[in-house]
Amino acid sequence: MNLKNLTRGLALLSFAVALPMPALAHHSFAMFDNSRSITLHGKVSKYQWTNPHAYLEVDADQPGGGTKHYTLEMTSINMMSRGGWTSRTVKTGDVVTVVVAPLRDGQAGGLVLEVTLPDGRKMLPGVPNAQNYKRTS
């Protein structure tokens, strides 16, 4: 086998191996637009530590003043626990910056891709295949 074939063989092999990877989240994330992101900055009205998924309710600052309420979905709290989150990572009233894959249906909601906490720490909620979600904001 020459080098070119070997490389191609390895590429095919890695593709085949990638397919049976364990799935890491629970529900379908197809309702979120993975071709763009929005960045929200605002005050947390609720950080809901529940399964099947956790939620972050945020009153996001609007460009012209005022706020708009967003319902933001995260992943299973079991996964988030293993990724370093706790039920106390975010508190009501915290001012956070959140990168979000917005809902496709235009409702004020989305999937959390990254949260910047008041102390500057950036937290990832462990969205499966997160690299497939474009950051455009």
Binding site: S14, A16, V17, L19, P20, M21, P22, A23, L24, A25, H26, H27, S28, F29, A30, M31, K46, Q48, T50, N51, P52, H53, Y55, E57, D59, H69, Y70, T71, E73, S76, I77, N78, M79, S81, L103, D105, Q107, A108, G109, P128, N129, N132
Partner: protein
């Protein structure tokens, strides 16, 4: 008298030795490889083939193929149970979505999947009832025995709506699992699904790796805000303000 004692001793040793040969699977396990991890080829499971359904069932299954491909590409589990806050049931729960725990006693082995707190109970050295002697359930009835160092679990009595990868089956479906250690911390599960809906047995495998010290977390499906609308699209209930 001495010879009798010797005989008893020998019988006890004979009784004890198969038990000693049985490996202990007790502990926490995770699916291997994890996402983004390159598996050791010695332990890598083979990709799961499509179910070898008979032609009369295959046409309907193909309607789900695109959905299945999309879920696989997303890294999501196939099936609609989770969207409805329902557990996988068998055999899907053995895909090891989240860590799982095996609790092994000589007469019974319990396997708990962390996602949805799913527990199946495996009764050792009992006879598998006929499927029509059971009320169908999510996990069915499981019995097992040791073949050397391999645990052979047989399961039947699964509800028809409890499906893996949208594969239809009859209530008579039988699942045979062969679990054995490939290494002290690597467990293989060879699965064979047999059913009258299948043209031939459906065979695939999983590999699990020990998670020393990991304690399974609770999982209660407490607030499911996702739902499937009348067009079949997954939607999110948002908090109105």
């Amino acid at each position: 008298m001495a010879s009798k004692a010797l005989l008893i001793g020998a019988s006890l040793a004979a009784l004890a030795s198969p038990a000693l040969a049985e490996p202990d699977f007790t502990g926490s396990w995770e699916r291997y490889p994890q996402a983004g991890e390159t598996p050791d080829p010695k332990y890598a499971p083979t990709p799961i083939p499509n179910p070898p359904l008979k032609p009369e069932y295959l046409a309907k299954w193909k309607e789900h193929e695109a959905k299945l491909a999309a879920r696989m590409a997303e890294g999501q589990p196939a099936g609609d149970n989770y969207v409805k806050c329902l557990p996988d049931g068998m055999p899907a729960m053995m895909q090891g979505m989240f860590p799982m725990e095996i609790f092994q006693r000589p007469e019974q082995i319990n396997i708990t999947q962390e996602a949805f707190n799913q527990t199946r109970r495996v009764y050792m050295n009992e006879t598998l009832p006929r499927w029509d002697e059971l009320d169908p359930t999510f996990y069915g009835r499981s019995v097992a025995h040791w073949e050397g160092e391999t645990l052979v679990i047989e399961t039947t009595g699964i509800k028809e709506n409890v499906q893996f990868r949208w594969t239809p089956h009859s209530e008579g479906m039988k699942i045979t699992e062969r679990l054995h250690l490939l290494a002290p911390d690597i467990l293989r599960n060879e699965i064979v699904v047999e059913d009258e809906y299948l043209a031939q047995p459906w065979t695939y495998s999983y590999t699990y790796r020990r998670m020393p010290g990991y304690k399974l977390l609770e999982y209660v499906c407490e607030d499911n805000r996702e739902y499937v609308d009348e067009t079949g699209m997954a939607r999110l209930r948002i908090e109105e303000r």
